[in-house]
Symmetry: C2
Subunit: 206 residues, 2 copies
């Protein structure tokens, strides 16, 4: 269901691996474009062209635009979410330090390596229904990471929040829009901007 159009009795030889690599190449390009432009504005000829291939080839691997987009979002989003979940910052130590590091690293990674991914969260309604479900799931996972640290900090008395919901909502919102905010800044300015943003968001739990 996740990616390939044809389902074969999965022969795991050289061939299958090559096929897998090709799919990864396609997904990488697709993810970039879908993230940049949104669903409607991407056309498959463009995707194909970037791969020096024709549209027909895409349909050899994916049954439809929807399926390609779904798979692309899947990789884009889950790579990124996996990474968030495994951030050492999220692991242990006092909640204050953890949260600060979590915010800072998460945003840095997002802005640098997945500038497109955050778009997914901004206007879910522009994506086909099937994709929205996946997006919601990803969002839930992100939420969970931050919620965990937050509740722990609150329990320990390190954090004082007005409300868990609004705090999470404000944090996610601000982080989602960070790439937009950072767009057009130089390396250093960007670093400083992200530091500032992280510090600002920490005030929400101060």
């Amino acid at each position: 269901m996740t990616e390939v159009a044809q389902e074969s009795p999965e022969p795991v030889g050289r061939v299958a691996r090559k096929r897998g690599r090709r799919i990864q190449q396609i997904l990488a390009v697709a993810a970039e474009l879908f993230g940049e432009r949104g669903y409607d504005a991407v056309n498959l000829d463009d995707v194909a062209e970037r791969l020096d291939v024709t549209k027909g080839s895409l349909y050899y691997y994916f049954a439809s635009k929807d399926e390609l987009a779904a798979a692309a979002i899947e990789t884009l989003g889950s790579d990124w979410t996996d990474r968030l979940e495994r951030l050492p910052a999220g692991a242990e130590g006092p909640p204050t330090a953890r949260l600060r590091a979590l915010i800072r690293e998460h945003v840095a990674i997002a802005v640098r390596e997945y500038p497109a991914a955050l778009r997914l969260f901004l206007v879910p309604s522009t994506w086909p229904d099937a994709l929205r479900v996946r997006i919601t799931e990803l969002r839930r996972r992100h939420d969970h990471v931050f919620r965990t640290v937050l509740t722990e900090g609150i329990d320990r008395g390190e954090f004082r929040v007005v409300g868990l919901g609004s705090t999470l909502q404000a944090m996610h919102a601000a982080m989602s829009q960070a790439p937009l905010w950072c767009a057009g800044l130089g390396e250093d300015e960007q670093e400083r901007a992200l530091d500032e943003l992280a510090d600002t968001l920490m005030k929400l739990v101060a």
Copy 2:
């Protein structure tokens, strides 16, 4: 340039007024749809259908989809922005009270009466170039309102912020996503949610 397709030597009689009303009706529907779905996903047949009219009629008043969308955004956005700029909360009094009221009222109005408008700010890149300019201008005006109160509060020593930029960015981001957050809540819950959000955002300047 703003709205009508044909430019006449503006006869300001009954006819012109009627025409004006019709245009307003069209814009109201268009604004709602464009705000809800974004530019691409709206098709003019849908807009026409909601008005119990055919597409041809729309083209009698507007030269193109772009122009209709531009005019729709114009009304949607400028009504809303005018209102923000004129909020009594923004006028005088101690910055703390003003900012809190400003946030609270602004979000309430946005969620209740302009649920679609905020979408404009979320992903500007999905709109045609001409519209992006207008959107940017609106955003600037919103920014200005909050920036004014913030700087005053800082000068007076009432506010302590990490940085003006990141504070504004975080506030705008959170407010922009409020409708998404409030979607599906009942009247009362919504009120409480918005109160909570406003209080949470006040922590950014505490």
